[in-house]
């Protein structure tokens, strides 16, 4: 069964700091990888996704993520965060065999101090 682990439960940064949120997954086959963001009181929003090709993917709002297959990782990065990036971030994985269900990590709460 696939699983997703996000190492950071709560990250607190100051504006303009660089961000990296860790995500590791466990799955024996080919996967698609996703990062979602949930702003306070709002719905899930897709930040970026990796299906194939260039392992460095760029998403919205200046976010990017790198897929490192050998490490089963898909870390999210942003070079300079803003106060408006305060939100919950979820890494998710779906295996390409079977039902292709999307499994979420436990989430990382990001707080940006102005």
């Amino acid at each position: 069964a696939q699983s997703v682990s996000q190492h950071n439960h709560h990250v607190i940064l100051s504006e303009a700091a660089s961000l990296e949120l860790g995500c590791n997954y466990s799955y024996g086959g080919t996967v698609n990888l996703f990062w979602y963001v949930q702003y306070p009181g709002q719905h899930l929003q897709l930040l970026l996704k990796y299906f194939s090709g260039d392992p460095l993917v760029k998403g919205i709002k200046g976010f990017e993520a790198e897929f490192i297959k050998s490490k089963f990782s898909f870390n999210l990065r942003k070079p300079s965060v803003q106060w408006s990036d305060t939100a919950e971030y979820f890494c998710a994985v779906n295996g390409l065999e079977g039902a292709q269900k999307l499994v979420f990590g436990q989430g990382t709460r990001l707080t940006i101090n102005p």
């Binding site: 899930l44 897709l46 979820f90 779906n94 039902a99 999307l102």
Partner: protein
């Protein structure tokens, strides 16, 4: 991306009662997924619903508590049965649209009192 209409958007229910949540997709999809997001938690998959067959439930979820219907390729319902305060959560449906990834409904915020 597919447009998903989910209703009700929120409800407050008495314990011991049941609530049925509807999910309508604007195009045909093979699989629909139902998730639960408990307060302050991540999304947990409840079940996968295929048209014409019984839903496949994840560990910790059972059909008697969360019966699912999937009468056609654009519609599904999830019922939360015999509710208790622990069932207070946001329930979401989702579909996969190939390379466009997953689309989520706007969610149903359920409060059980």
């Amino acid at each position: 991306s597919a447009v998903i209409s989910q209703k009700p958007s929120r409800d407050i229910c008495q314990r011991g009662t049941s609530l049925t949540i509807q999910c309508q997709v604007d195009s045909q999809v093979t699989m629909m997924f139902w998730y639960r997001q408990q307060p302050g938690q991540s999304l947990t998959l409840i079940a996968t619903a295929n048209q014409g067959s019984e839903a496949t439930y994840e560990s910790g979820f059972v059909i008697d508590k969360f019966p699912i219907s999937r009468p056609n390729l654009t519609f599904s319902t999830l019922t939360v049965s015999n509710m208790s305060p622990e069932d207070s959560s946001i329930y979401l449906c989702s579909v996969i649209r190939g390379l466009r990834g997953y689309t989520f409904g706007s969610g149903t915020r359920l409060t059980v009192v």
